[in-house]
Symmetry: C2
Subunit: 343 residues, 2 copies
DNA sequence: TTGTATGCGTTATCAG
DNA sequence: CTGATAACGCATACAA
C-alpha cells in the first residue's frame, strides 16, 4: 500500500537535528554549516525525500503557480501562446494551471474562482467576457494579485494590464491592401463582435474604406464563430451572392482556408475572381494554392511576453497598479491569395 | 495593500460558532442544521470568503490536480489531446498542471519531480524517454499514485498503464494500401526510432512488405524530427533520389504536407509520380490538393479516454496494480494523395 | 447538532 | 550556527 512519504521530520529524527535545521539546510540557508548541510542533503537523498510544495505554499503564501484561462486551448495560435508561456514560466521557477472557458462567461467565472482558491500568484486571461469590467475578477484585484489579459482584453482596456497587438492597424492594412488591388466590395467575416479583437479589426476595415470614400455596407459584415463548419456555411452563402464580392477579409486563417477551399471547389478562381485574406499565419497557410495573405501574429512570443510582464508585476513591490498596455509587433504577409503572381 | 484574506475563522468568530462548524456547513455536511448552514453560507458570501485549496489539500492529502507532461503542447494533435483532458478533468472536479519536456529526458525528469512535489493525484505522460523503465517515476509508483502513459508509451509497455492506438496496425494498413496502388519502393519518414509509436509504425511497414515478398531496404527509412524544417530537408533529399521513390509514408501530417508542397513546387506530380501519406488527420489535410491520405487519430477522444482511465484508477481501492492497456480506434482515410480520383 | 483538540508539512520568529 | 515554538487554513476523530 501507499508508503507514508518522507518529511523533514523523518530526516531530522534520523540525524538528531531539528526540523527547522533540515528545512534550512535543504534550502541552502547560509546560516547552516557546510557539514550539516551536506549530511542532511545526503540523508534526504537516501530516504528519497521530496518536498511538499503544498505545505510550503501554505506557509509562505507563495505558490509559484500561474493561472491561465483561454477560450479553448486547441487552436494553433492559442497552443503556441501556451507553449511560450509554459517555457517562460518554468524558466522562472513557475508553472501553469491551464483552463478553458469554451467561450462562456460562466465557465470563465468558475475558472477564475478555482484559480483563486488555489492561490495562484498571477492570472493570465484571454477573456471571453463581453462586459466592460467582469466583476468576478474582484478577489484578485482586492488582494493585489496581478491579472494580465492577453490577445483578448476586456472592453475597458485602459483599466487593465494587457498584452495585445494593434488589431485596428492590422485590419486597416489588410483592407487598404485589398482596396489597392482593386477590390471595392470587401466581405468581412469576423468573430464575436462583443470582443475587442474583432471590433478593432472592423474599425480598421472601416477606416480604410473611409479613406477611399467607399460607403460602409453593413450587410458585408458577417459575424461567425470562425471555425471550420462556419467557414463552410459562409462559403455557401458567398456562392449565392450576386454579384460576388471582390474580396473576403476573414478574421482568422483556418476559417479563411476553409472558405478558399470551398470556393475553389465550386469553380471560383482565387485570387482572380475573389481575393482572400486571413489572420494569424498558420504554418500551413503558406502551403495552400494560392498561398494565403495574412497577418503574422507570433503566438509563442505573445506567451513569453505575457509571462515576463506577469513576472515583473509579481516581483515589483509595491505592486504596480497603473495599468500597462503592451502592444506587440506583427507582420503583414502579402501572398498569392491577393494578387496574381505565381505564388 | 493586499487584504488579509477571509478564513473560516473569521466567519466563525463573527457568528459565534466554531471553525469546524463553518467548515462543515460550507461543505454541506449533513450533520449541520439547515439554519446554521444557511447562516454561515450567507456570512461567507458577505465577507467574500474563498476557500484555500492549498490548505485543504494539505489536510486531506488530495489535491484534485492531475499532472500532464508532453513533449510540446503546440502541435495540432497534442493540443487537441490536452483540450479533451482539460474538459474531462474539470467535469470531474479536477484540473491540470501541464508541462513540456521538449523531447528531453532531463526536462521530463524535472517535471515529474515538480508534479510529485505538488502532490498531484495522478500523472499523465506522453513520454520522451527511450529507456525501458525510466527510474524517475519511482516516487509515484512507490506511493501508488497512478501514472498513465498516452500516445507515447515506454518500451516495456506491458508494465504500465497506457492509452495508445495500434500503431503497428496503422502502419501496416498504410503500407499495404500503397503496395496495392502499385508502389514498390516506399520511403518511410519517421520520428525518433527509440519511441514505441514510431517503432510500431515501422513494424507495420515491414510486415506489409514481407507479405508481398518485398525485401526491406534500410536506406528507405529516414529518421527525422517530423517538423516543418525537417520536411523541407527531406523533400530536397527526395528530389535527388534516382529513381524517385514510388511513395512516401510520412509519420505525421504536418511533415507530409510540407514534403508534398516542396515536391510539387519542384514539378513532382502527386500522386501520379509519387504517392504520399500522412498520420494524424490534421483538419486542413483534407483541403490540400491533392487531399492527404492519412490516419484519423482523434486527439480529443484520446485526452478524454486518458483522463477517464485515470479517474478510474484514482477512485478504485485498492488501487489497480495490474497494468492495463487501452487501445483506441482509428480510421484510415484514403484520399487524393494516393490515388488518381479528382479528390 | 456542535465544539474541542489535533495534525497535514513546512517555514518564520525568536531565543540560545 | 541551531533549536523550540508557533502559524499558515482547513478538516477529522472524538467528545459533549
Amino acid at each position: 500500500m501507499s508508503k507514508k512519504g518522507v518529511t523533514i521530520y523523518d530526516i531530522a529524527q534520523s540525524l538528531n537535528v531539528s526540523p527547522p535545521t533540515v528545512s534550512r539546510a535543504l534550502k541552502d540557508h547560509p546560516s547552516i554549516s557546510q557539514q550539516t548541510r551536506q549530511m542532511i542533503k545526503e540523508k534526504a537523498m537516501e530516504l528519497g525525500y521530496q518536498t511538499n510544495a503544498l505545505a510550503s505554499s501554505l506557509r509562505t503564501q507563495k505558490s509559484y503557480t500561474l493561472g491561465v484561462i483561454v477560450p479553448r486551448l486547441n487552436s494553433k495560435f492559442m497552443s503556441s501562446v501556451l507553449a511560450g508561456m509554459e517555457k517562460s514560466a518554468v524558466d522562472a521557477g513557475y508553472h501553469l494551471i491551464i483552463m478553458q472557458s469554451f467561450e462562456t462567461e460562466e465557465k470563465e467565472k468558475e475558472n477564475v474562482r478555482l484559480l483563486f482558491n488555489h492561490r495562484v500568484d498571477g492570472l493570465m486571461v484571454s477573456t471571453t467576457s463581453s462586459s466592460d469590467a467582469p466583476e468576478y475578477f474582484a478577489p484578485f484585484f482586492e488582494k493585489n494579485i496581478p491579472v494580465v489579459f492577453f490577445d483578448r482584453a476586456p472592453k475597458k482596456q485602459k483599466t487593465y494590464h494587457c498584452v495585445t497587438i494593434d488589431n485596428q492597424e492590422a485590419g486597416y492594412l489588410i483592407t487598404k491592401h485589398l482596396l489597392e488591388n482593386n477590390s471595392r466590395r470587401i466581405l468581412h467575416i469576423t468573430g464575436n463582435k462583443n470582443l475587442q479583437v474583432y471590433q478593432h479589426r472592423l474599425e480598421g476595415y472601416k477606416k480604410a474604406l473611409k479613406e477611399k470614400n467607399i460607403t460602409y455596407d453593413r450587410s458585408l459584415i458577417w459575424e461567425t464563430s470562425l471555425d471550420i463548419p462556419d467557414g463552410q456555411r459562409a462559403a455557401q452563402k458567398i456562392l449565392k451572392m450576386k454579384p460576388l464580392p471582390d474580396a473576403v477579409f476573414v478574421a482568422n486563417d483556418s476559417c479563411a482556408i476553409t472558405i478558399m477551399h470551398y470556393l475553389q471547389k465550386n469553380g471560383i478562381r482565387i485570387p482572380e475572381m475573389i481575393q482572400i485574406t486571413g489572420f494569424n499565419n498558420d504554418p500551413f497557410s503558406a502551403f495552400f494554392k494560392p498561398s494565403l495573405t495574412t497577418i503574422d501574429y507570433p503566438g509563442e512570443k505573445m506567451g513569453e511576453a505575457t509571462v515576463n510582464f506577469m513576472l515583473q508585476l509579481i516581483n515589483s513591490k509595491p505592486i504596480i497598479s497603473v495599468p500597462r498596455h503592451l502592444s506587440l509587433d506583427f507582420k503583414f504577409l502579402i501572398r498569392g491569395s491577393t494578387h496574381n503572381s505565381h505564388d
